[in-house]
C-alpha cells in the first residue's frame, strides 16, 4: 500500500474515532465503557497505519483502567477524579494525533490549519478539564451545569476537529490520485 493510501486510511479511522466520541456518555454507567471500546478500537485501527512510535496505546490503557475502576468501585471521589483524568488522557491522545496530522500535512506541503485547530481544541478542552476539577465542591445544579456545558464544548471542538480531519483526508486522497494519474 502506498504511503498516501495509508495516510488516507489513518485519517479515515481517526475520523471514525472522533465520530464515536461526539456524545459524552460518561454520566451513564456502562454506556461509557462501550463508547471507550469503540473509540479506542478505532484509534488502534488508525494507528496500525502509522509506523512510527507513539505513546498513544499507553495512554489508552491508562484511560481504560481508570474507566473500569470508576465503573466498578462506586465512590464519588473516584468518579470525580476519573472524570477529570480520563478527559485529560483523552486530550493527550488527541495531542499526539495532532502531531501525526501535522506531519502528514507537512509531507504533502499543504498550507493547512491543523496548528490553529489543535490550538483551539487544546485550549477549550483544558478549560473544560479545569472546570471539572471544581465539580466535586459545588451544588448539584452547578454540577449538572458544569458537566453539561463541558460536554457541549467538547462536542463543539470534536466536531471542528472531525471536519478538519475529513478535509485533510480529502486533500490527501485527491493529491494521491493526481500522483497516480501523472505516473501513468
Amino acid at each position: 500500500m502506498s504511503e498516501s493510501k495509508q495516510q488516507v486510511k489513518l485519517l479515515q479511522w481517526f475520523a471514525v474515532a472522533l465520530f464515536f466520541q461526539f456524545i459524552y456518555l460518561n454520566v451513564f454507567k456502562y454506556a461509557n465503557l462501550l463508547q471507550d471500546i469503540l473509540v479506542y478500537g478505532a484509534y488502534l485501527k488508525s494507528l496500525s497505519f502509522y509506523k512510527e512510535k507513539t505513546p498513544i496505546s499507553k495512554y489508552m490503557a491508562c484511560a481504560m483502567i481508570l474507566a473500569l475502576m470508576s465503573t466498578f468501585f462506586s465512590s464519588h471521589l473516584l468518579f470525580y477524579w476519573s472524570t477529570v483524568l480520563i478527559q485529560g488522557i483523552k486530550l493527550l491522545i488527541i495531542m499526539e494525533f495532532g502531531k501525526i496530522l501535522l506531519s502528514i500535512e507537512q509531507k504533502h506541503d499543504i498550507q493547512g490549519s491543523t496548528t490553529r485547530v489543535m490550538k483551539k481544541y487544546i485550549a477549550i478542552s483544558f478549560a473544560v478539564i479545569i472546570s471539572w476539577t471544581l465539580v466535586m465542591n459545588v451544588t448539584n445544579d452547578w454540577q449538572m451545569g458544569l458537566l453539561f456545558l463541558g460536554a457541549l464544548l467538547l462536542l463543539a471542538v470534536n466536531i471542528r476537529l472531525f471536519l478538519h480531519v475529513l478535509a485533510l483526508r480529502k486533500h490527501v486522497k485527491n493529491k494521491s490520485f493526481v500522483v497516480t494519474y501523472l505516473q501513468k
Partner: protein, 372 residues
Amino acid sequence: MNDLKKQMDQIDIPESLHQRSLQGIEQATKEQHKPLHWVPKVLTVAVTLATGGFVAFMVGEQHVDNDRASALMSQLDHLSSPIYWILAILCVCIILYISRKKLKVGADQKKTIGVAIVLILLIGNSTIFLQHQFIKPIVVPAAIEVTDSLLNALEVRYITNKDDHRYVKYLQAEDVQLPIVYDQTEQANLVNGFYYPLDTSQDLRYQNIRLAFFQLDLNTMKKVMASKTVYLVLNDGVKLPAPIHFTRETFIDENQIMNHSYSQSQNDSEQIISFTLQQDAVFDAFYVPATLEDKILLKEWRLNDQRYTASDFPFSVTKGQRLELTIQLKEAPLDINTSIGFSGPDGYLTKRVYSQAYFTSNLVEKVRENNE
C-alpha cells in the same frame, strides 16, 4: 565513489577527538531517552499514590465496623482535616518537584505545566471535599410529642455522606427493636446506575438527609420514652445515638378548648396558626413544651386585625372569633412535631406544629460540632 571512501578511511582522526565525539553521541542519546523513561513513570506512581491515599481515606471512613477501628477513627477524627491538608500539601510539593525536574530536562513545557495545574486543582478540591465528609451518619435532633392514640407514627431524619450506602434498619431503645417501615434495599436506590436514595428529604452539597419512618403502639412508645438512650441502627450494625426528645403531655388534650385550626408556614423561620374558637376563653400565656422554650418564640397574635405581643397578656376571645398566632422558629438543627398555642384558666388552645429544619451548610456544620 570507492575512491572517496578510501580517502575518507585514510584520514587520521585524532584519538581524543574521536572519543569526545563518541561521548557527545552517548550523552545526546541519554538526554533524548532520559525524560521519556523515568519522568512519566514517577508521575504515574505519584498520581496513583495520591489517588489511592485519598480513596483509602474515603473508604476507610465508611466501613469502620468494629470497636477497635472505631476507637482509632475517633482519634483520627480530631486530626482529620489537618491530615487531609498535610497530605494534600505533600502531594502538591511532589507534583511541583517533579514538574520542575521535568521542565529542567526540557520536556514539553506547556504539557507539564498543564498536568501540574490539573493535579494541584484536583488535590485541593479533594481536600475541601474530604473535609466536609462525616465520619459517621448523624441523626437530626427532634422534639416529638406523643399522642395517646393507639398507633404513633415517628419520623426521624438522619444525615449521611452521599457516598454512604448504609441506611437505617431499625430503632433501638434498650430491649425494644422497631423495624423501619419502608425498608429499602440498596438496589432500589440505584438511579441510572448511580446511587440516589429514594427517601432523601433534602439533597445537600456533600450529604443527603434521609427519612426513617417507624410505627409504635402506646406501650412500646412508653418503653422507648423510659429508656435513657435511643439509637438508630444501620444495616451494618453501627449504632447512631438519636437525640430525640419525646414528650407526652396528656393534660393538653384533656383541657383543650374547642376550636378549628390550621397552620401555614410563612417562610423558613415563621409559622402562622389560625384558630377559630367555639367557646369564650381567656388566655394568659404562650404555650410551648418546656424543652423548646428557647427554640420557639412568640412573635405576635392577631385578633380583630389588631396585633398584640407578649406584653398584652392576658386577653379574652369570644366564641366564633378568629385568632392568628405567629411563631418564630430559631434556626437550629431540630425537627419539631409538638403542640403549640396559648394556655389560660379555661384550658389550652393548641395546634400541632410540624417543622423540619432546613439545612444550610452552616447548619450542617453546627450539627457536626454538636455531635463531636
